[in-house]
């Protein structure tokens, strides 16, 4: 029993014993402990996915203690390096990843790639929004495109790490608008909170993020959404698509879960079963609905193939917009 589980159980005892809490009865334990690595600072999309997964696994009661560990930096490649390095062969560790990491591996020339992981499943997808501060003089996407065409450098974009989905979308929008993509002025922030503050404070011209992360601020009017990167309007989200406004770009930011390399088939199956049960839980479905995440669950070998095809697609896009030589 390590320190974390010790504290967790001490806390649980305190609560359950002292306060006679009605805790759900737990079935036989498959794993003592499961650690989910969120390779980003707290508050961002991967962190939210990791914590939603934590709740979903915990709700099933199959694992005694599920913890989330944040390893921020460099589009998740820092976390990836740890997963492929010191976590190698451990069958009680999972890591959230996604399209952002595919891009970051390329732009960072990371020595470790997704081939150094054991793919488990794609979980969700989310579309990206382009926002400006509520007080911005830019009212529509057309205003932003005009400013971008006039001087691409004058539009400072704030978003996630270099080469991530946000960065890719900024490049795609600039290219589709006919602006000089090599002059793209993109400012990476680590973690959703810092980028959000920079956009709300007007320190950058525009911001890019997954819709759910900034939903509250968009609804309250602190941020104005200019467009969403979906192929068509999304039910329940009152934001026009980029396409319908004449910017021919669509991009889905998928998020997935992988395990460390060096696992045998049995260990892989056990982790897949844990994730499968979590994805089918009510807790997970509730989170999907609450956060407007689209269910893109794709387990096992199909996901492995998808990683390969997305890798090819992203490499082409990044080279096209000049993020990778």
């Amino acid at each position: 029993m390590n320190r974390r589980t010790l504290i967790a159980s001490a806390v649980a005892l305190l609560l359950a014993g002292g306060l006679s809490l009605n805790l759900a009865s737990t079935p036989a334990l498959a794993l003592d402990e499961l650690r989910i690595i969120a390779p980003a600072a707290p508050g961002g999309g991967w962190d939210q996915t990791a914590r939603a997964m934590q709740e979903a696994v915990q709700s099933g009661g199959a694992v005694k203690a599920v913890t989330v560990e944040n390893i921020p930096g460099a589009g998740g490649t820092v976390g990836l390096a740890q997963l492929a390095g010191q976590e190698q062969g451990k069958d009680n560790v999972l890591m959230v990843n996604g399209l952002v990491m595919v891009g970051a591996i390329l732009t960072n020339k990371s020595a470790v790639t997704l081939e150094n992981t054991t793919p488990i499943a794609r979980l969700t997808g989310e579309y990206e929004v382009i926002v400006v501060p509520g007080s911005s003089e830019l009212k529509t996407l057309a205003d932003l495109v005009a400013k971008l065409k006039a001087d691409p450098g004058a539009v400072a974009w704030g978003g996630g790490s270099a080469g991530g989905t946000d960065h890719i979308l900024a490049g795609l929008v600039a290219k589709a608008s006919g602006a000089d993509v090599s002059k793209l002025n993109y400012v990476p922030f680590s973690g959703g909170g810092e980028a959000l503050a920079a956009v709300m404070g007007g320190h950058v011209v525009a911001g890019i993020s997954g819709y759910s992360e900034w939903e509250g601020q968009i609804k309250s009017g602190e941020l104005r959404a200019l467009g969403i990167s979906a192929p068509e309007r999304v039910a329940g989200i009152d934001i026009p698509t980029l396409k319908e406004q004449g910017v021919d770009v669509e991009l889905a930011n998928w998020r997935a879960i992988v395990a460390p390399p060096g696992l045998n088939d049995e260990q892989k199956k056990a982790l897949l079963a844990t994730v499968d049960a979590a994805v089918k839980s009510d807790s997970w479905k509730k989170v999907l609905a609450a956060k407007n995440w689209t269910d893109l669950y794709l387990p096992g070998d199909d996901f492995t193939k998808l990683v390969a095809s997305e890798n090819a697609r992203v490499t082409e896009i990044l080279k096209g917009i000049g993020l990778v030589q």
């Binding site: 320190r3 913890t67 400012v187």
Partner: protein
């Protein structure tokens, strides 16, 4: 008075027996985790989240907030008594606090920390109650240029901690800056000073360096001395609690520390560490006896301890009003709000006013509880020092190792911890101050990232630091802090020579 009516309503919610109990549980647990190095409020709340899912949200948040405050109260204890900071916000407390403990004034140091935390926590809560919208506006004024200017100002505080030898102090600072460079660069993703070691890609954790330099370094140094068993530590000298003189010297630092800490907590890249540096610097500058600093000046404990608690109060402002997390713990709290399908932000105050005002009222109650909990404990904790030193320092090594391992469950961190510990030992042995190293580590990273972000946004135009009014103002203050003493010295010398001539 809308606010007062809502606050009264909040107290009605907070004093129900159930909610009082949550508050007591949170504050007690918080004090405990604050004392343990490495284990912080973020980790604990994350562990509690699944358990609290079925609770009433008001009760859960009252407990979480108590826990967050409590961690800051508790973290001073090991800083002062054992030179082992429990949280990174208490690193500076160790500088004066531990010297006080070695002089037999440990209980007084613990008391001024607890009372200072109470004053800061309560004033901070008052600020949340009445001034939240104002501080939110202030926080959003800070962009990369302003942050860089703030870091420049924070760097001037190093001068207060350099010690007697300038070259030794600067060496320590540069060492910290170099350690801060290790890892993947945030802006370009390039590895720096990692020597192809994967575990170094994520950088070296501040806690590892702090615990290594302070706790392990101290333990090794003690072990290296032949008179280890001679009992150099005086457990208690004079009155157990604070003397009238110590009260007189503490109350102003408490207030100044609060004023520094609260706005920092509200800043999206603020944190609890930097206001403690600034507070220490300010107290040394304002003191009539600056020569006492480094020899156990109570102001150097009172100010920083107030600052870190006020910063915690500040963190709640952007979290509740904008849904903007400014610390790791705040991000977990944000996840907790989402667990209950609540969206923090301007609408939260109207849609869940019972919860928000109950929470704010519980902060007042929690602070009183923490004071009652921590003051009597000060006398008890200080007896730790009566433990024979070999056992005591063996225990410190054990807890440091456990704490650092619990950070990332990484054995590589343990290797680093002891390498840094040996460095800390050598620095003590050859009279290099360790605090500037920590400051360089914390500030260097932030200053660099913000500097480059500011230049990216301005497309390479360096005047951005002088054309933004807030950034300019901060830089001018930094310049005055730097040049001011030189000017005074020059004028004093001139007056002196005029006298001699006349």
């Amino acid at each position: 008075m809308d606010v007062l009516a809502s606050l009264l309503q909040g107290f009605a919610t907070a004093v129900t027996p159930m909610n009082l109990m949550w508050c007591l549980l949170g504050t007690t647990l918080g004090t405990a985790i604050g004392i343990l190095p490495g284990i912080g409020p973020a980790l604990t709340i994350a562990l509690l989240l699944p358990i609290t899912a079925k609770l009433d949200p008001t009760g859960a948040f009252i407990m979480f907030a108590g826990l967050y405050y409590g961690a800051m109260y508790g973290s001073s204890t090991t800083s002062i008594l054992l030179n082992t900071p429990g949280e990174s916000g208490s690193i500076i407390t160790a500088v004066e606090g531990n010297v006080m403990a070695k002089n037999g004034r440990g209980a007084a140091a613990l008391a001024t920390a607890a009372i200072g935390s109470f004053v800061a926590g309560t004033l901070g809560t008052i600020a949340i109650t009445f001034l939240a919208p104002l501080f939110v506006k202030l926080a959003l004024l800070f962009g990369p240029a302003e942050y860089f200017a703030l870091m420049v100002l924070a760097f001037t505080t190093v001068s207060a901690l350099l010690g007697l030898s300038l070259s030794r102090g600067i060496t320590s600072l540069l060492l910290g800056l170099a350690i801060g460079l290790v890892g993947t660069d945030v802006l370009t993703g390039q590895p720096r000073l990692t020597f192809d070691i994967l575990s170094l890609l994520r950088g070296i954790d501040i806690v590892v360096v702090a615990v290594g330099l302070f706790a392990v370094g101290e333990a090794l140094y003690m072990a290296s001395r032949p008179d280890m068993r001679a009992g150099e530590i005086v457990p208690i000298r004079g009155s157990i609690f604070m003397t009238a003189e110590e009260w007189r010297r503490s109350w102003k630092p408490w207030l100044r520390g609060t004023a520094l800490g609260f706005p920092f907590g509200a800043l999206p890249a603020g944190g609890t560490e930097i206001p403690t540096f600034l507070s220490y610097f300010l107290e040394k500058r304002m003191s009539k006896k600056p020569e006492e600093f480094g020899k156990g000046a109570i102001e150097g404990v009172a100010g920083p301890e107030a600052a870190n608690n006020a910063a915690v109060a500040g963190v709640l402002v952007p979290l509740l009003t904008l849904g903007l997390p400014t610390s790791a713990t705040a991000a977990i709290l944000l996840a907790a709000f989402e667990q209950y399908n609540l969206k923090p932000g301007p609408l939260l105050f109207s849609s869940s006013s019972t919860l928000v005002w109950g929470l704010i009222a519980s902060l007042y109650i929690g602070n009183v509880m923490l004071l009652i909990l921590n003051l009597p404990l000060a006398g008890l904790w200080v007896r730790l020092l009566a433990i024979p030193q070999p056992l005591l320092y063996g225990g410190i090594l054990l807890f440091s190792t456990l704490g650092v391992y619990s950070l990332n469950n990484s054995t590589f961190d343990l290797v680093l911890l002891f390498l840094v510990g040996i460095l800390g030992f050598l620095m003590r042995r050859y009279d290099f101050p360790v605090a500037p190293c920590i400051i360089g580590l914390i500030l260097g990273r932030l200053a660099e990232a913000q500097f480059r972000r500011a230049l990216t946004i301005s497309q390479g135009d360096a005047t951005v630091f002088f054309t933004h009014p807030l950034s300019l103002a901060l830089l001018i203050i930094a310049a005055l802090v730097f040049v001011g003493p030189l000017f005074y010295r020059w004028r004093a010398a001139k007056l002196q020579s005029a006298k001699t001539a006349g």
